[in-house]
Each structure stands twice: as C-alpha cells, then as structure tokens.
Point group: C2
Chain length 250, copies 2
C-alpha cells in the first residue's frame, strides 16, 4: 500500500462542509467520488479536520492509501481532470510514509479571516469576505486579540455543537492587519474548538467598530460564558490556509 | 440640473457587457433600472466606455444628470440598497461640474489582466483569472511587451468588431509582474481598440510559454495582420481598474 498526502484548495460556497453526508454535496464526498472513478474502487479521503458549510480552503490537507502503483503526478492529473467542473482543486500530491496521518500528525492549523471594510457592498468578492460597512479600528482589535493569545479556557468562544473533550486550547497566533479596505485576521493553533475563530472574529468586530472596549474581551474570556461574546462571524470570510506537520513523512 | 460622477465595481460574469441591450442583463441596464426605481423617472447612465461580456471592473466611471436635489451620500446609499442582490457596487459618488463627461473627459484608461499560472486549476478564482498551466517566463513577456509600448498601428491586435476610426493607439504602460502563482499584466492608454488588451495578452502568453521568441511580437506588430498574433485571451481575467481625468471637475 502507498500513502499520499494531498493539499487542496476549495471554494466552500456550494458545499455542506467537508464531511461526507448522504445526498449532500460535501468536499470529502466529491473527492471520494473522483477517486472512485479514477481507481475503480471506493476509498476514504482522510482530512486534517472538517470545515463548516461555506468555509473555504487554500491549503487543506488530506491523505489516501491506495494499492495500485500510481505516481504523485498521475494522481494530480487524474484527479484534477475529474474535478474540472467542481470548485475543488488538488494543488499537490506527495508520497508519504505509512505513519503519516492528515489529522493526527498535524502539529498546527492556520486560518485567515477576511473582512471587507468599506461602505459599499462587495461586487467582486461576494461569498469571499465578510462585508462590514462601519469603520474598524484595527489597533483596538489587535489590543483585544492579545488577551486571547496563549493557553485558555475558551468556553466563551465555543460553538454549541463542539465535540472537543475540554474547552482548553492554546492560541499561538492571532494577528490583525489592514491592506486598504481589507482586514485580515490570522489565527494559528494546534487545534481549535468548533466555531472558535468565527466567534472570536465576531467579538473582535464589536471592538473594532467601537461597540466594546478591548478590555471587555478579557472579561468575556474569563467569564467562560458563550452568551457574553459577539455573534458568530459568517463562514464565507474564513479560509483554512495551512496545516503544519512535524517533519517530512517521506 | 446636477451632475454626478459614479465610480463602480462589478463582476462581469453574469452580464452581457456594459451596454444596455433589450432583454439582456447588462451593467448599464441594471444601473438605469436602479436609478429609475430610486428617482421615479428614467435616466441615462453614461459610461466611460463599454466593457465586454465577462470583463470585470474595479473602477469603472460613469456620470448621471438629475434634476432633483440629492446629495452624493443619498445617491450612494439609495443605489447600493437597490443593487444589493446584484454583482454591482457603487463605490463613490461625487458631484461634478456640467462640463464633466465620463467618456469624453477621460484622459486615460487602465486595465489589469490576471493569469493564474500553476498546474492545478483554480477552485477559488474561477471566472476571476485566466488559468494557464504551463510555466510562464515573465522576463520574456516583459521583453516582448516593450515592443508594443508607444504610438503604433495596432491592426495586428485589433478585434474584428472594432469601430475605431484608425488603428493607431499610444500604449503608455504595459507591465508584467508575478506574485507567487499570479501573473499581472497592467496596461494604460488614452483609449484602446476593441479586444486590444486581450489580443496582446494572448500573444504575450505564447511568448511566456516559450512558443514564440519575444522578437516575434515586433514582427507581428509591424505586419499589421491580425492573423499573426495570438488568440484573444478570455474576458474573465480582465479588470477595468481606473479612468483618469484631467482635473477635479467640481
């Protein structure tokens, strides 16, 4: 058996998230169908983690195990040919050792959240960014973000469907940057709670637009109460950008 | 009567170009309907020039003349409200003097062409860039582009539907830049022939992928024969970015 690491880009708009679901369009479902068509037999595509409905990926990672002898290049070509009319693209295929697991070998996950911050609604970037018309102060957002860095109980930012065993996570990066009308929020951690980033973004937005003081975010964190934080930011601003692994598993 | 300059963004994918056409979705048609709904009377939206089917705009300019007394801010708000479900956004409204004309006062027009140059097809940027899988050498493309700068007879790059009186144009800028997998081609001139930029891009692409030597572009230009140049690059990579005017007409 040979194992391959896949790096994927997708537009989440038309998918009901990553995970295979009977009768619904999902990224995993489309990939598995494309592989079944290529290989003539079913196979499981193991993702590094799920993405929600509407969330995009520039660097999702998955792995597969196949018995036939194909090269990385064969797989890349065959899959992209079958994905041509789908908003999924296979960026890279690498043969890896059999101890590589897209989910369990991952040491960190990085996401980018994009806010289009201008008065006029987006025409070119619909479903690609969260449109916020009120002026955001990124200095205030960055000050608030600092309270969230490090190891904390993130109950206040945890989605109600979250299946994690504990609400403790370590946030290694949470940076805010503006390029013209676009505000980028970059987050990195070993792993995240369900909706953690979108709940953090919804909260930072309230700080940015002046509704809340930056210190309020510290209070929200310490209160461990989801009702105190801001609303969940929409999925279409969120991009899974990078999964890091310990070492090359080749 | 008051005259207003409008700056517009649109996604050209679902439009049959700029110009109003009975029964077809066009940018001008949608804008005129939105204004008619707002003002309760028909009005003409005068564009700086047409864009073709599928071509996008980040900075198209148009003007309107209205009799009722509305502020720029009123118009911006009222129009964007009516455009919310359309891929058109009004970025800016400025009151201008009555000698301002979006088309005839323009002193230059700038376009950007985006090529996504990587092996894997785009998932996130479908209809936003031209996907070219073969590696492009931008140094060769830049060398070829230099032959096209300045005042020339551009017959070899002129679309068959072109209505310009002469094939002479002055190309003030034609630059090639790469940012990771994206190749940007920026062009600026007082005005362009029909399909001129897309025909130039289709030709430069042949130089970039090694099919043609850069010098061949000089020969093509001098031959004044459309059959010698490359194919017309697809419209979805092209963005009208900026229309410049001589002075503030306020």
């Amino acid at each position: 058996m040979s194992r391959f690491k896949l790096t994927l880009e997708y537009d989440g708009t038309s998918f009901c998230g990553w995970q295979r679901q009977q009768g619904l369009p999902t990224v995993q479902g489309v990939l598995e169908s494309a592989f079944a068509d290529f290989l003539g037999e079913p196979l499981t595509v193991w993702g590094s983690g799920r993405t929600d409905t509407g969330v995009h990926a520039k660097g999702q990672v998955a792995h597969i195990e196949i018995s036939k002898s194909y090269s990385s290049s064969d797989i890349l070509g065959a899959l992209n040919k079958r994905l041509r009319d789908k908003p999924i693209s296979l960026l890279k295929v690498e043969e890896v050792s059999c101890d590589f697991h897209a989910r369990f070998s991952a040491i960190s996950r990085a996401y980018e959240y994009k806010i289009w911050n201008r008065r006029a609604q987006p025409a070119l970037e619909k479903n690609r960014m969260w449109w916020v018309a009120r002026d955001l102060c990124i200095e205030a957002m960055a000050e608030a973000a600092n309270y969230l860095l490090g190891h904390h109980d993130f109950t206040s930012f945890r989605g109600s469907q979250c299946q994690a065993l504990t609400p403790f996570k370590t946030l290694d990066e949470l940076s805010i940057e503006r390029q013209n009308d676009i505000v980028f929020i970059n987050a990195r951690a070993r792993s995240f709670l369900h909706h953690q980033i979108r709940n953090i973004v919804g909260t930072l937005k309230r700080v940015g637009d002046g509704s809340w003081h930056p210190e309020k975010v510290r209070e929200i964190l310490e209160a461990r109460n989801r009702n105190l934080a801001g609303p969940t930011a929409p999925p279409w601003g969120l991009y899974l950008t990078e999964i890091r692994y310990d070492e090359p598993h080749s």
